[in-house]
């Protein structure tokens, strides 16, 4: 009996010793890592080899096409810079939610990754740029001659107080109405381009027993996504943009009209929208369970890559009602955080990222279009080619649902209000809430 106690006691002692040793060594690395050693965090297998400079690339690209694009880009970079070893610090999670939480804690702990993915627009400008955590990249743009290689509107999106803070790698279009070609042919309908046509088509489909519009708002951003297209279609690009500067109020008559139209559209969505996510909604269109769906063009990647559908044969697309000639932009960009160990290495990566070669190796795999105007069009599929053409001649506007138009705090409150609106349909209450959010987050 005595022996047994002794054995347990010594085992406990041993454990405690290990625990204390672990604690001790942890604080040591913490202190050392604050200014320099990023690689201390990476798993041993990913630590850079002897004599190689490390570069940590932080993103939420862990899905099929996007990961393939990122890896191809990294490979291209390492070919050009054999002295650098890339650490791919991708954090999985829908729409980057988890990645943003990890990034926020690292940025606030003064342990930034070499470079990180962020949507151009408000997410960047009212976020890390406003917090003074980013280095301006004007001289890099100057040196690379990028001022005429990226569209002016796009550079505007990554500019804050005259300084450019990141390099765009791709463009997604957020305002696209996808439709099932077979359903439209069967009922002799043409895809709608105006709101009147939309409601006529929806009514005809409803009578024929087909769900006109698929929605999956289990995550509230998808309903906001539909609403932002309605906002753009009803208000036009100029007035839409004025919402984000405070020149147009949400409690204006024009916006009331937007909400009434949106409410009317919700009469034509599938009953079980609250149980579905965006892929489910897109799948309804693919399967012929619904006729139309408004979603960003990552849905094109989902249709073509995951479901093996053919563009213009199985699925078709038009701009949502009233948004012809307007292009709601979601752009992924990479910047240079303050306090990284070796800014030159990061800039080398940004140079590759912003080159024609870099953009063309990344985007066809990711399913997006290049941010540069002079990229190789032949590398993209039918949808991509058409979108590249339209991108050149369209008016660009930032997407609200994807954090490009307004600060994250506003988007969160907007999403909440939309979530309530979808079931309550209370226009006054919605406008009141969103107006309060605009006063708090947008009007200075």
């Amino acid at each position: 009996m005595k022996f047994k106690h002794l054995a347990i006691l010594s085992a406990l002692l041993l454990l405690m010793g290990i625990f204390m040793a672990a604690c001790g060594s942890e604080t040591e690395t913490d202190a050392g890592e604050a200014d320099t050693e990023n690689e201390a965090e990476a798993p041993a297998s990913e630590a850079p080899a002897e004599g190689k400079k490390p570069l940590e690339i932080f993103s939420w690209w862990t899905g099929a096409g996007e990961e393939a694009g990122l890896l191809a880009l990294i490979e291209l970079f390492e070919e050009k810079h054999p002295d650098v070893e890339v650490i791919n610090a991708a954090v999985a999670g829908g729409a980057g939610t988890n990645a943003q939480a990890v990034l926020a804690s690292r940025m606030q702990g003064d342990d930034p990754p070499g470079t990180f993915q962020i949507h151009g627009g408000a997410a960047l400008n009212t976020g890390w740029a406003a917090a003074g955590k980013m280095e301006p990249l004007n001289d890099l743009y100057e040196e690379q001659g990028w001022y005429d290689k990226f569209p002016e509107d796009l550079i505007e999106l990554v500019t804050s107080d005259g300084d450019i803070y990141s390099v765009p790698v791709n463009i997604h279009r957020s305002n696209v109405l996808w439709y099932n070609v077979a359903i439209f042919e069967e009922h002799g309908l043409t895809p709608p381009t105006t709101f009147d046509e939309f409601f006529a088509v929806a009514e005809a489909l409803q009578e024929a027993g087909v769900t006109p519009l698929a929605l999956g708002d289990r995550e509230p951003w998808t309903a906001s996504h539909l609403l932002e297209s309605v906002m753009l279609g009803k208000l036009g690009a100029e007035k839409y943009n004025q919402l984000w500067t405070g020149e147009l109020k949400f409690d204006s008559l024009e916006f009331t009209d937007v909400m009434e139209t949106f409410s009317q559209m919700l009469d034509y969505v599938n009953d079980d929208h609250a149980a579905r996510n965006w892929q489910d909604a897109s799948q309804m269109v693919a399967n012929g369970d619904a006729a139309m769906n408004v979603m960003g063009d990552w849905a094109a990647g989902y249709f073509a890559t995951d479901l093996n559908l053919e563009p213009n044969k199985d699925f078709g697309w038009v701009a949502p009602p009233g948004t012809e000639g307007m292009f709601m932009v979601v752009t992924d960009t990479f910047g240079l955080p303050k306090g990284v160990e070796d800014p030159e290495v990061v800039k080398d990566f940004l140079r590759v990222l912003g080159s024609v070669e870099g953009q063309d190796v990344f985007n066809p795999l990711k399913g997006s279009i290049p941010a540069r105007v002079d990229a190789d069009v032949s590398k993209y599929n039918e949808y991509g080619q058409q979108t590249i053409e339209e991108f050149k001649k369209s008016t660009l506007t930032p997407s609200l649902a994807h954090n490009s138009a307004a600060p994250a705090g506003f988007v969160q409150q907007f999403n909440q209000a939309v979530n309530i609106f979808v079931s309550s349909r209370n226009v006054d209450q919605f406008i009141q809430t969103v107006q309060a959010a605009q006063d708090e987050h947008i009007n200075q």
Binding site: L13, M16, T97, D217, E219, P220, D271, A274, G409, N419
Partner: protein, 295 residues
């Protein structure tokens, strides 16, 4: 000597539990509601905002009914199953394993599985439709509030959608109360029951006068454990429904996560965390005090 051994863990708990609670409490009193750190003092502003907030009021309503249904569900079902298994049935261990097995899963898995099962267009509703049922339940997508009356900004009453979530939670945790009750039933000496029977007590009286009183401490323990699980629940709901349409399945844990890491409202998030802590403390602290007196 002994005090030396527990010092490291006291220090660790001191920093990583109480230290961080204090830090969260401090952040909840500041203006830090953007990415830019702002530790200026804001008083109770964040708390006042929350108690006027539609979403947070909905969360409180949902948590109340979730906790009630969850506790009564696990207690009732667990007790019933324990009594049945206690009847010396054959293959007892097999049944025990069947009912205990869900506890081996994490709430995330339970959430995903029940999200499929209770999906209004694909899950159990397909079976119900085959059986010829009409007006199928809408499960967690139902936005209606039963027995409702307006209170503050919200409709107060039983959110129908929360019942779907409770089904999943009860499925997961019943094994625990079953095991506790089974142990409790086995601990009641047969002599007591025999003596009562000899005195002419009916089975019902035996339960009422002997078994229930002797199981009371176990019932209280289960209630305390289930209450703190349900007051701080996050993973099950996040995996199964998220906030739900019109926030009918939203709970403070989900709101706290989304407002902090999506909206960058750090001070608001900290305030929600503190309120959750207070709720749990209301349940746990009296229990701890009672236990101390018992010693």
């Amino acid at each position: 000597m002994a005090i030396l051994f527990i010092m490291p863990s006291i220090a660790a708990v001191g920093i990583f539990v109480y230290g961080f609670i204090s830090w969260t409490g401090y952040v909840s009193l500041t203006n830090w509601n953007t990415l830019v750190k702002d530790l200026s003092f804001a008083g109770l502003k964040n708390y006042i905002f929350l108690f006027n907030d539609y979403r947070f009021q909905s969360d409180l309503r949902n948590t109340l009914f979730f906790t009630l249904f969850f506790i009564f569900g696990t207690l009732g079902l667990g007790f019933l199953l324990a009594v049945l298994i206690d009847q010396n049935i054959r293959q007892e261990s097999l049944f025990r394993n069947i009912f205990m097995f869900p506890m081996a899963l994490s709430f995330v898995v339970t959430g995903v599985v029940w999200q499929w099962l209770l999906n209004p267009s694909t899950g159990v509703n397909l079976i119900l439709a085959k059986l010829g049922m009409e007006n199928l339940p809408r499960w967690y997508t139902d936005t209606s509030i039963a027995f409702s009356f307006p209170l503050g900004n919200i409709e107060f009453g039983i959110p129908v959608a929360i019942i779907a979530v409770v089904i999943a939670a009860v499925w997961q945790m019943t094994g625990f109360s079953l095991a506790m009750y089974l142990a409790g039933l086995r601990a009641i000496p047969d002599e007591l029951k025999e003596a009562a029977r000899v005195d002419g007590a009916t089975e019902f009286q035996i339960y009422r006068k002997i078994i229930f009183p002797m199981l009371l401490p176990i019932t209280i323990s289960i209630t305390i454990i289930m209450a703190h699980i349900s007051l701080k629940i996050f993973d099950l709901i996040y995996a199964m429904t998220g906030p739900g349409a019109n926030f009918v399945t939203d709970v403070p844990g989900v709101y706290m996560f989304e407002t902090t890491f999506r909206g960058n409202f750090y001070a608001n998030g900290a305030a929600i965390a503190m309120i959750m802590l207070i709720f749990v403390a209301i349940f746990i602290v009296p229990y701890l005090i009672a236990n101390r007196k018992g010693d």
